[in-house]
């Protein structure tokens, strides 16, 4: 059975599936801390430039993905403003590497994650946090012991949404890191590539099925987890 499975997909297709999962996992995990911070800041703080931050966070949702990919190339590419520094000082190169694909996926998924977490933060009654501070908890402790547990359903929902979005990301990825089999060829890029060559339809449709399965599983999982966590958080 296991070998049937392995044989069902060709080596190039397997490589694309593995790479997609790795890229999406890293993109999701790495964007969680800044995602929670941005969501909290947008929900709770007032500071100059708040509207600007809000716009920047949401930009990838509205811009054509190709534009986002191009901007990433300009900023983070090997000769880009930041990319050059990363390369010269730390030897980090993002463009045309799988890490670059993760960055592109993270940027594209970020607004979805922030929106989900922000809604959760807005649902937490600040009076509960006030109560924690009168009991001796400093602000970081209040966040860790009260706010974070209470927004956990939103964080999980946001993370899974971001993961699903990362799996499907195409435009920004292909612009920033191209479509190199085994290195930057994720599932969508592979489907695109297979559809360009004669006889590639069968491989493409297998990957399409996998994409559908992963996306559906992610959505169901997020529902189940979020519902369980919500029960705990609601205090019943």
């Amino acid at each position: 059975m296991g070998s049937d499975w392995a044989n069902w997909l060709g080596p190039a297709e397997w490589a694309a599936v593995r790479l997609s999962i790795r890229v999406s996992l890293w993109a999701t995990l790495a964007s969680l801390p800044p995602g929670i911070l941005a969501a909290y800041a947008l929900a709770r703080w007032t500071f100059p430039g708040k509207q600007l931050l809000n716009a920047v966070v949401h930009l990838p949702l509205i811009l054509p993905p190709v534009v986002t990919g191009y901007l990433l190339l300009v900023v983070l590419g090997r000769r880009g403003y930041v990319g050059q520094v990363l390369d010269d000082w730390f030897g980090i190169v993002l463009s045309f590497r799988w890490t670059g694909a993760a960055v592109a996926a993270a940027v594209m998924a970020f607004p979805l994650m922030v929106r989900a977490i922000r809604l959760a933060v807005e649902a937490v009654d600040p009076k509960i946090e006030e109560a924690a501070s009168t009991l001796g908890a400093s602000k970081p402790w209040v966040f860790l012991t009260v706010t974070l547990p209470l927004i956990l359903p939103g964080v999980i929902a946001g993370a899974i949404l971001a993961f699903a979005k990362a799996i499907g990301e195409f435009g920004a990825t292909i612009t920033f890191v191209s479509n190199i089999p085994g290195q930057t060829q994720t599932i969508p890029s592979a489907i695109h590539a297979f559809l360009q060559v004669p006889g590639g339809q069968e491989a493409a449709s297998r990957l399409v099925i996998i994409a559908i399965v992963i996306a559906t599983a992610a959505l169901i999982l997020s529902e189940v987890i979020a519902r369980r966590v919500a029960r705990v958080v609601a205090g019943t």
Binding site: K127, I128, A131, T134, L135, G136, W141, V232, V233, G235
Partner: protein, 367 residues
């Protein structure tokens, strides 16, 4: 510990100007809504930064705007009991109760969990979550949580206001026990004369952001300048004599016996009874043939005509206890009432609500 409380803060529609010393025991901040009570205790808790002021006790300075000193709420070591409980919904009752303990300084001696749990009767709730508790249970847990944080001062913001009469009657005895058995000063916000009579050692009456009276409850509750006419009343000390088979409890006061619906206190214990001034009928002659069970005899010390058709008649009952009756000026004239006369006060026993009967505390504080 005497808390020095001096706060001034401007709002759009009124200004809070308070400069008062809060003595040990239970101090009730009393006043109608909008009088600045909650603002004042939020300033003590550090949840509100007043425009100017100083809040300090025994060299423990919470706020001193002149010295640009402001202690953040989490370093004030104050147990705050909120009106709506504000329990942590994701924690069990036990976790809620112990939340403040981990932040208490090592040299603080927090109350034992078992003792507080026992005192509040919440032992059977420890593994539950707040969502599964009734309103009264939630509030008991909130009270326990505040006391278990090893506070130097307890703040309570109308902790019973969100509860119905039955739940109030359920919780007040626990408050009394804590007041009597745990030696933490309590600053308690209320607009209920019944709670004042029952719990307070000192009352600070606030009106439109200013202190209008400070003193023991018996004095402030009868003060026509500090109280709304309908809230004026008297607080008497009474001793429970016996519980009778017909559901009534017999209490003795300095001016005679009282029969009340079953009082939850053991015979021999002392309690406080509050009698609203408008529930008192005066009679020059000893009343006969009345359905009311309770009459007290006293001497008129003062007659104060009000702004409207009413007048307040104060009777001295002896032992520095006074009973205030609110009658019409017309009745004062018809009965020819004058200071020095002996008079009988008839109380409708139904007028004495259960939460107006409390266990005695610091009787020396009641003049």
């Amino acid at each position: 510990m005497t808390l020095e409380l001096s706060v001034s803060h401007s709002f759009a529609d009124f200004a809070l100007e308070v400069d008062v010393a809060v003595p040990p025991g239970v101090t009730v901040l009393f006043g109608p809504s909008g009088s600045g009570k909650t603002t004042l205790i939020n300033a003590v808790a550090g949840l509100l930064r007043p425009d100017a002021g100083r809040i300090a006790a025994d060299g423990w300075v919470l706020l001193d705007t002149a010295a640009r000193h402001w202690l953040p709420p989490h370093r004030r070591r104050i147990g705050y009991i909120f009106q709506e409980g504000r329990l942590f919904p994701h924690m069990t009752v036990r976790q809620n109760l112990l939340y403040g303990r981990r932040f208490a300084p090592r040299d603080a001696a927090p109350e034992s969990l078992d003792r507080i749990v026992d005192m509040l009767g919440i032992g059977h709730l420890l593994t539950r979550r707040p969502g599964a508790l009734s309103g009264g249970e939630k509030q008991r847990v909130a009270i326990g949580r505040a006391f278990l944080a090893a506070p130097r001062l307890i703040l309570a913001d109308e902790p019973l206001a969100a509860l119905d009469q039955a739940r109030k009657a359920e919780i007040l005895p626990y408050f009394e026990r804590l007041r009597d058995e745990v030696s933490v000063p309590i600053l308690y916000v209320s607009h209920s004369p019944a709670e004042v009579a029952r719990l307070a050692t000192t009352v600070i009456a606030l009106r439109r952001g200013r202190v209008v009276a400070v003193g023991p409850p018996a004095q402030v509750l009868g003060d026509a300048d500090a109280m709304d006419a309908r809230d004026i009343g008297s607080v008497l000390r009474a001793r429970v004599v016996a519980h009778h088979d017909d559901g009534l409890s017999e209490l003795s006061t300095v001016a005679g016996a009282l029969l009340l619906p079953r009082v939850a206190a053991a015979p021999g214990s002392t309690t406080r009874v509050r009698i609203a001034a408008h529930e008192v009928i005066l009679s020059r002659a000893a009343p006969v043939g009345l359905s009311a069970l309770n009459t007290l005899r006293g001497t008129i010390t003062e007659i104060r005509p009000g702004h409207g058709p009413g007048a307040l008649v104060v009777l001295a009952l002896g032992d520095h206890q006074y009973l205030t009756a609110r009658v019409t000026r017309r009745a004062v004239a018809a009965l020819d009432l004058e200071p020095g006369q002996t008079c009988h006060a008839i109380l409708k026993s139904v007028a004495i609500a259960p939460e107006d009967v409390g266990r005695g505390h610091h009787p020396e504080a009641i003049p």
